[in-house]
């Protein structure tokens, strides 16, 4: 896939801007507020210079100047208010955009096949949804308003000064065409500086995170102290290297400083010399008010540009973040279309046949063929075992039947093709227990209720009892309400399996697919769990992948996977005999 830089990067930024524009008035206010504030500044400078002129030259007593002085105060208060409103609007717009982006990404993840998520580092996906999305904020809140201000305000200020003094106006206007040049210069310099800085920062941060991740290993090898020195030396090395880049990169901001200082000094000297009669470039006399007004406006002409330079790296950050997301998600995901319902499922609870023909499955990573043109039949209400050595592809087959994996060939549930069933219908009709069920953070009861949210306690207890969960929860002080998952009680593999089995018992499926439901169980417990499975599966179609002879013996029919084929077995005990030792009992 493309990495999303270059032209793709521009497309991503346009998408981001599009999302931002959708926030409407918020986005508009965040850009307009600094512009209006800038225009009010012109009025404030005019009033201030007027007051000073009247007081110093005209010797007007201060009480007569009360009105313009209050005007100055009012304008400043108004500008503070505008700054607050603008920043708030910008922040809210950015929050809206970020929330939308996060939801789009999360929806996209959920909508994929589990194999898609399994192929990606979960940490990287989480970081994309949480950190990378956060990284676009600076661009929206600071960079965008700063760009608009830098493009408009210097010209507006020059225009405001023009009627007061043509020469100063010309000086500003003369530098105005240079503004795009400045912006390019700022862009180049600021980008180089921020790239240098961010890279140094990221590298050192990355190195630190890397060593921190392996700190136990380093400690056990007695290398921790040496690696602390490596971290410190890497910092020093990076410092020396980036300093070279910075020497040049900071020059661009020095150039801006130079122009800002030149503006103030130039105006001050020109106006001063005009007063002294040493420079005669204008026809009329120059009042103190006009001179002060020009002087007050001089630094403001260059201020928006300097602010843009400060925020320039926000753009690069946002671009890099979007590129990162695009790489992980193979393009920036669009907001998902509402789910399209296809065929409705069979009536819930009714046993449904499973019929797979010409089924070909390949392992996701190694591209090894697991099944090639295989056939599997389970009649309505029939109980079927699938055997085979571990790693041979039993789980892959069950995942395909559960509609959680791509396959070639045809799978039909009842009369309907699996590929044409709606997600909702499919889930109502098919219950599936994976080989390594995940327990979510919460209580055991919460985890079981995943099968049927809001299930009453009586049903919950029945399901927990049937699955053998109560066998270990009865000994716990909080029983089914014991918290599990990270930060809670750690369940063993067998216990986790039983909790996941209880989820299924809360449902009413026509087809039940169980992947090694009795793994990690001792014989007594296994017998109890098998009883539960058989009692629940009465009148339903059941397919289990298993190593257990006891479970296989309780099924009506047995298949074995081997050599890419799915073969019916007449004597399941013989098929199980060369099993490795880990088969239960």
């Amino acid at each position: 896939m493309e990495t999303g830089r270059g032209p793709e990067g521009r497309v991503h930024m346009r998408r981001l801007m599009g999302l931002w524009r959708q926030t409407g008035p918020l986005a508009a206010l965040s850009v307009a507020a600094p512009l209006i504030g800038g225009l009010l500044l012109v009025g404030q400078a005019f009033l201030l210079s007027g007051v000073l002129h009247d007081a110093v030259v005209g010797k007007v007593p201060r009480m007569s100047l009360l009105q313009p002085i209050l005007g100055i105060g009012a304008l400043m208060a108004l500008r503070a208010l505008l700054a607050f409103a603008g920043e708030q609007a910008g922040a809210r717009a950015a929050e809206t955009v970020k929330a939308r982006l996060r939801k789009t990404l999360f929806r996209h993840i959920l909508a994929q096949h589990p194999a898609w998520t399994a192929e990606r580092a979960s940490g990287a996906l989480a970081s994309a949804v949480v950190d990378q999305v956060e990284a676009v904020e600076g661009f929206l809140v600071r960079y965008l308003p700063a760009t608009v201000s830098a493009a408009i305000l210097p010209l507006a200020f020059a225009a405001a000064v023009f009627p007061v003094d043509v020469v100063v106006g010309l000086l500003f206007l003369f530098t105005a065409p240079l503004i795009p040049v400045f912006m390019a210069l700022v862009g180049w310099g600021a980008e180089a500086a921020s790239r240098g800085h961010v890279q140094a920062f990221a590298r050192l941060s990355g190195l630190f995170a890397d060593r921190l991740r392996g700190i136990v290993t380093l400690r056990l090898f007695g290398r921790a102290d040496a690696e602390a020195t490596v971290i410190e030396e890497a910092g020093d090395d990076l410092r020396r290297r980036t300093l070279g880049v910075m020497c040049i990169a900071f020059l661009s901001s020095a150039v801006l400083e130079f122009f800002a200082a030149l503006g103030v000094a130039g105006v001050a000297l020109y106006v001063g010399l005009t007063y002294l009669g040493l420079v005669e470039l204008r026809t009329g006399a120059l009042t103190l008010q006009a001179g002060l007004f020009c002087l007050l406006m001089a630094p403001e002409v260059y201020l928006p540009l300097r602010q843009l330079a400060v925020h320039y790296h926000d753009r690069a950050n946002a671009k890099a973040a979007l590129a990162e997301i695009a790489e992980l998600f193979e393009g920036l995901p669009e907001a998902p279309a509402p789910t399209i319902g296809h065929c409705p499922a069979e009536r819930p609870g009714r046993a449904v046949s499973v019929f797979a023909t010409d089924l070909t499955l390949t392992a996701p990573r190694s591209r090894r063929t697991i099944l090639s043109h295989a056939k599997l039949v389970a009649l309505p209400g029939e109980h079927v075992a699938v055997l085979g050595e571990s790693g041979v592809g039993k789980s892959t087959l069950l995942e395909a039947l559960a509609g959680l994996r791509k396959y070639q060939g045809e799978i039909a549930l009842g009369e309907r093709s699996l590929s044409r069933l709606s997600e909702d219908g499919l889930r109502r009709d098919v219950a599936y227990l994976s080989q390594r069920p995940h327990l979510f953070q919460g209580s055991i009861a919460d985890n079981i209720r995943l099968g049927q949210p809001g299930a009453p306690d009586s049903l919950l207890h029945k399901a927990a009892n049937l699955a053998g969960v109560t066998a270990f929860t009865d000994a716990l002080p909080q029983g089914l309400d014991t918290p599990i998952g990270e930060g809670g009680l750690g369940l063993s593999g067998g216990e986790a399996h039983r909790v996941a089995l209880a989820r299924i018992y809360l449902r009413d499926p026509g087809i039940v697919l169980l992947d090694e439901p009795t793994a990690h169980l001792d014989p007594d417990m296994e017998e109890r769990v098998i009883e539960g499975i058989l009692s629940f599966a009465r009148g339903r179609t059941l397919i289990v992948a298993t190593h257990s002879a006891a479970l296989a013996a309780a099924m009506d029919r047995t298949f074995v996977i081997g050599g890419g084929a799915l073969l019916p077995v007449l004597c399941p005990r013989r098929a199980l005999s060369p099993m490795p030792q880990q088969g239960a009992a």
């Binding site: 921790a224 890497a234 001050a268 001179g291 930060g487």
Partner: protein, 552 residues
């Protein structure tokens, strides 16, 4: 303010660069204030001299030019020196923290959720090291400039000095501190909400198949959205505070200006001050508030940095759970391992190991099998003293491991853990973690034993191939082999291997285990696994059941 002292303590070690950066930023600020002030004074003075009085043109114009030049040079220097100092602090802080954490890992209890520790610590440290440049430095600079400006006013316009001191003090000290304190709570909330959001994503990814199978993706999405809303709320509060800060500084600037103008005009009426000086002071006041507006931005980060500093400090100051004995004994020669009635549980009411006993002779290879979560890894961790048992004793070469130093123990026993990482660096760097002064022959020997030599020889840069981010990524099997080579290189006589084949496909797993006997020849091996073992891989197989070991 405990965390502030941490920053100052670290900065204190680099006093020179930080003082230089501070000095230069003060010069920059002062030159900026003086430039506008002198210009206003000069301009007004010139305007008043049209009456024909002589005006010394040379002084002011030279000052205007000199100040502009000074400002440019000082700003440039400040950026360069500040960058230099920050990078130094960056490295110092990380090195310091790393050294502090080493004796404290692995952290006992469940303080941190999976993966949280690394990402949170790096984020916290990131928040800490810019705080000097964005908050503390500017506050000190602004205070110095404010003090100078107040003194100047006290001489030239005494009535206005208190107004300025109050206004500027509010804007550059009271407001940033109030902001920093007020932003701590939403900052904390944002950190929590963001961690929660990350947990939701990780939970949904790990349980993706279950969610899909149960048709519950919608409820996962709702939970995610709820966490997202909490994050949005916290961030909105944070940005509201920031906006309040910016607006507050502007308002404070306005009040101060109007106040000084009002007092100044009275002084002008009474002749206590002349026009040019008044104009110069007013313009200088305006310019000085530029420094305060920078502060308001940094203050929000100061709050975050304070919280980050507190967390880092708490971790760095926590008690190490495993301590070396006060008077360590020597570890005798030998590589036997004995567990004597060892009891262990992460929580008191659920024991993982109950009175577990185990004898492994010198050079014996023993596999420990059992379902996941039964305590296989725990046995290996106890052997390396990553935790201590509640009861019973563990002996290496007949010596109780609690009586020898951990460094000695770790030299004798090497662990290939389930999550042993490949570090950023070359293949050589990664191997040498096992033995820092191993020569190339030794490295190749270890790679040969781990059956990775052929692959490495095929790489264009052989041992110097860069691994990790932006470098080459190894397959799961190659990664495990590289980590095994690292363990073999260490010279430890006892090797503990924790699920060395997890994440490998069946063929790679079988190859790996078949090679194991030859690779670990002459060493005692404890192998925790649930893979099926080929003949001859180990001498004995033991199964963990109900917290005890029984022969298979």
């Amino acid at each position: 303010m405990n965390s502030l002292s941490l920053i100052l303590h670290l900065a204190g070690k680099r006093t020179g660069p930080f003082l230089a950066a501070l000095g230069l930023s003060l010069v920059t600020l002062a030159a900026g204030i003086a430039l506008l002030g002198v210009s206003g004074w000069f301009l007004t003075g010139a305007a008043l001299t049209t009456a024909g009085l002589a005006f010394n043109l040379f002084g002011p114009s030279a000052m205007v030019r000199g100040l502009s030049l000074m400002r440019i040079v000082a700003r440039y220097g400040e950026k360069l020196v500040g960058h230099d100092a920050t990078l130094k602090l960056l490295a110092d802080l990380r090195g310091w923290l790393f050294r502090r954490l080493v004796p404290r890992v692995p952290f006992q209890g469940r303080l941190f959720r999976r993966g949280d520790l690394v990402s949170r610590l790096t984020a916290d440290v990131d928040a800490l090291d810019t705080v000097f440049l964005t908050a503390i430095g500017p506050i000190l600079t602004a205070l110095a400039a404010g003090l100078a400006m107040t003194s100047l006013l006290a001489v030239l316009l005494p009535d206005a000095a208190p107004i300025y001191a109050l206004g500027f003090g509010c804007a550059s000290l009271a407001l940033p501190i109030a902001l920093a304190l007020a932003s701590q709570r939403p900052g904390e909330a944002a950190t929590l909400a963001s961690a929660e959001l990350r947990m939701r994503v990780l939970d949904a990814i790990d349980g993706h198949a279950d969610l899909r199978a149960m048709g519950q993706t919608e409820s996962a999405f709702r939970a995610f959205s709820a966490s997202g809303r909490r994050l949005t709320r916290a961030r909105t509060r944070q940005s509201a505070l920031n906006a309040l800060g910016t607006a507050g500084v502007q308002a404070m600037g306005g009040v101060t200006l109007v106040g000084i103008l009002w007092q100044g005009l009275e002084a002008l009426d009474t002749g206590a001050v002349n026009g040019p000086v008044l104009v110069g002071l007013l313009l200088a006041t305006l310019a000085s508030f530029e420094a305060a507006s920078l502060l308001a931005r940094g203050a929000g980060r100061l709050g975050a940095a304070l919280a980050a500093g507190r967390r880092v400090q708490a971790l760095a100051a926590s008690e190490p759970t495993i301590l070396d004995p006060a008077r360590p004994s020597a570890l005798p020669e030998g590589s036997s391992v004995h567990f004597e009635a060892v009891r262990f549980g992460h929580t008191p009411d659920r024991l993982v190991l109950r009175d577990l006993s185990l004898q492994v002779r010198d050079g014996e290879r023993v596999a420990i099998i059992g379902p996941s979560g039964c305590g296989k890894s725990t046995i290996l961790h106890l052997l390396l003293r990553l935790s201590d048992p509640e009861a019973g004793a563990i002996r290496v070469a007949g010596q109780d491991i609690r009586t020898v130093t951990q460094a000695n123990l770790h030299r004798r026993v090497a662990l290939l853990s389930q999550d042993t990482p490949v570090f950023l660096g070359t293949i050589r760097d990664n191997l040498r973690i096992g033995c820092p002064d191993a020569d190339d022959d030794a490295l190749w020997g270890a790679l040969r034993a781990a059956r990775l030599d052929g692959f490495v020889r095929g790489l264009p840069e052989e041992l110097d191939t860069w691994l990790g981010e932006a470098g080459r990524t190894l397959s799961a099997g190659q990664t495990r082999r590289l980590c095994l080579a690292r363990v073999l290189l260490s010279g430890a006589r006892i090797v503990a291997l924790d699920e060395p084949t997890s994440g490998l496909d069946r063929e790679t797993e079988a190859d790996f285990l078949a090679d194991l006997a030859a690779a670990t020849r002459g060493r005692t091996v404890l192998l925790a696994t649930h893979a099926s073992l080929p003949d001859g891989a180990v001498d004995r197989v033991l199964r963990v059941e109900n917290g005890r070991l029984s022969p298979q």
